[in-house]
Amino acid sequence: MLRIFIHRLLLGIATVAIVSGIIFAAVEALPGDACTAILQRDASGERLANCRRELGLDRPAATRYAEWAFGAVRGDLGISAHNNKPIASLVGDRLKNTLLLAGCSLALGIPLALFLGVLTGLRRDKFSDLALSTIAIFAMTIPEFVTATVLIFVFSIWLGWVPGIVTASASSPLSAFFPGIVLPVIVLTMVMTAHIMRTVRSSVIDVMSSDYVQMASLKGVPYWHIVFRHALPNALLPAINVIALTVGWLLGGVVVVEKVFNYPGLGHYMIDSISDRDLPVVQAIALIVAAAYVGVNLAADLLAMAFNPRLRTLKARSP
């Protein structure tokens, strides 16, 4: 177990290292750099050269990558080209807001998804399954900005129940985001619930038709006893990995939702930074999101192994 843990951890670190290389190379390939962003129209000749020397941008890319990477490991993400503040604090505020958004969605979505997944799995091909599974397809495939627009129209403009836009600034206390956070949470919960529910459903169907469940049923074990004692502990295992994928998606893919509702989170900040060519910030956010994705998936793998001893000996490849 410890050996597998170390192996997975090293693979995860390798993945993050490759990501950091990709991010650095991609940002390096963009036209312009921090100095053209700072100086804007004055970016030419002597001043540009001076600025680059001051910020160390005239050194070779490999040196700068090493410096950036080691800084990031220590928690120093550099300076924003846009307003000269340390990125760690700028990103920290937004990360906190995104975590609030993601946390609310997960707290609402995971229990709902597990319940609906088990329900539809047990009632396979009955009316309730067909109806819920079809709604799930709608929920997970209609673009977030469409759902958001419809929800804003219905609940904010038409009924006037909740604000359609978040007006709090990035550094506001968390309480300032209520009730504006309600609609973004609903949009995210819908997508997430649909994904997790479908996995749980197919896994419940798998397990319920397996030999040992049939055996228990033939022995005369009561139905609900089979469901809760025999089937669900196995059927819910795949949910761990899907939830991890969803958390990774929540931390990065909420970009559109945050932008639509003007929610001051990490994704919104990422779009603004790309528009402003604030490259150090883009690099930092990309690295944080990728590390979170890898970390959450690693945790899910380990959790799945802890619950399922078979995975420990099978030398299962990373999913």
Partner: protein
Amino acid sequence: MSDGPATLVATTARPSRIASVIREVLSRPSGFIGLFLVIAHVLLALFSPFFAPFDFKAMNANAILSPPDATHWLGTDQLGRDILTRTIMGGRQAILVTAIATPLAVAWGGLLGIYLGLAGGRLDDILMRVVDAFLALPWILKMLLMIVTFGTGIGVLIPTLAFFYGIPVIRIARAATQNIVARDFVLAARARGHSRVSIMRRELFGNVRDALMVEGAMRWSWMLLAFTSLSFLGFGVSPPTPDWGLMIADSRNFMAIAPWPAFAPVIALSSLIIGINLTADALAKALGIDRAQAAVH
């Protein structure tokens, strides 16, 4: 199927299989509705310029944000442009770009995935790390970086979408291949001394094809989601070209006084995406593939 000798069945299997898959897709209500929506959208995208009632960029200062009436069936937008015209033409860019990018993504991702699943070894280990690294980055960040660097033309969007959306296909194709490389007929081909290319072509491709078809249908809907989201955010189709994402973004500013410009593009885009997914679902069931196993975006 007749009870004829096996050789007879084998020679007629190929054309009849495609027909039977299509028949099976159509026999399900989801497949029928889905395929109907997709075909209707594709036809509309192809022929809408010929019967659009107005010029899509003609502005009418006397009819700004006017509600639906006899002249403008779905009303007009904030510049007095006809919404019906812009809606039926608003999917052309999105459908064109994604309909080209999807087969490209499935082709390169599928081929590389099958090869890696067959070959294994050091190359497989290294490339799968890189695949994981790409999958760890949110799609929108990857797309935006490319767009900021190279612009938003069709010439940039098609290869960019094809590249990024081919990466998860590598995983699917590789996993599907690994499921069958240990089977006897592949071992037999190896024992006969067939080359890897020959094994891929003759033994593997036909067995992985079903999974790739379902995957392709899903990639298509995700590409549409990406394309229209980018337009919505202002990084995709540039005005005055009509586009659903752009139309919905424009309509948001006037929603409190004039909600109708949003309705038509919302319904158009949703019906296309739902159509693709219903078709993909019916296709997956017809081919016996568990669609829910696919990863998030």
